[in-house]
Subunit: 191 residues, 2 copies
Amino acid sequence: MAHISIISSGNMGQAIAGLAAKGGNTVELVNSSQADKAVTGDIVVLAVPYPSVAAVVAQRGAQLAGKVVVDITNPLNFETFDSLTVASDGSATTEIAAALPESRVVKAFNTNFAGTLAAGTVGGLPTTVLIAGDDADAKALLAGVVSSAGLRAVDAGGLKRARELEAIGFLQISLAAGEKISWTGGLAVAQ
Amino acid sequence: MAHISIISSGNMGQAIAGLAAKGGNTVELVNSSQADKAVTGDIVVLAVPYPSVAAVVAQRGAQLAGKVVVDITNPLNFETFDSLTVASDGSATTEIAAALPESRVVKAFNTNFAGTLAAGTVGGLPTTVLIAGDDADAKALLAGVVSSAGLRAVDAGGLKRARELEAIGFLQISLAAGEKISWTGGLAVAQ
């Protein structure tokens, strides 16, 4: 059981809120426009698009100290669908971790389409949430939330692996945008 | 039906040879030590580890002109499993394409473990081969080989997407090496 705040106004935030509630965790869903509402969760999910993260971090940096902060972003160039907008040897997550040095930042959920988080399965396999970060306890706490809802959590390695998770998210979105896969499908993980 | 040469001495080459033969294509398996044996395939698969590719290209560059050349490598640092060894904004495939300007270079098979190519399934889903390249006809020819064996081929985009395919291959290998997934499992694609 964990107490989770989700800052969002979109379908990913709703799907993650549904997943957390299904697992018996307490959930606080904060609209990203409610800048004056403090978050109370031990885990705070930044379920906003990448271009909106900087504003959330600027508004709430002090509130997020000590908390597990979950970055779910896919920092694509959504005009061209042909590149990521972060440094080629970095990731959105390493940027966020640098901006929030007192938080325990992890990457998760960016390789899952919202529909597969809500369904709990993708292609007949349990939806697998890949989690990267340098804080093992933070990853374990989030993995517990994912598992409590019947989905699988896999530790994808340290914070550096966020770069590969963003490459996976990018490719998956480009395949769906190009109608090679559907938005209810995508990458599954067979164990 | 295609005529395929596979330069290899390992399990990936054998798995790709098996797949191509199963689909009714003609297959020539050339050991990577047989440098004096010319390849005759319309498609030539470089099924050697990344550090061996440069020697194959140096030996056979002229032979490969006009052919579809398939790069399957995952250019990992296999001592640390913590990084790729190619430029952060490039890929092994773009390097090979630059070295073989008269060939039609595509990336494929690097996101598939050998066992899943042999089985034709992963986690109960058809094994999906992601193919990236700038030559649509080359990709279609290779996709036909994959489909003929009952596996799925998905066009993952232009040659630039080889970078994301290598990130996927890297992450998948690191998960298997860390015993988070098995070498007979891995990433599946749900449509």
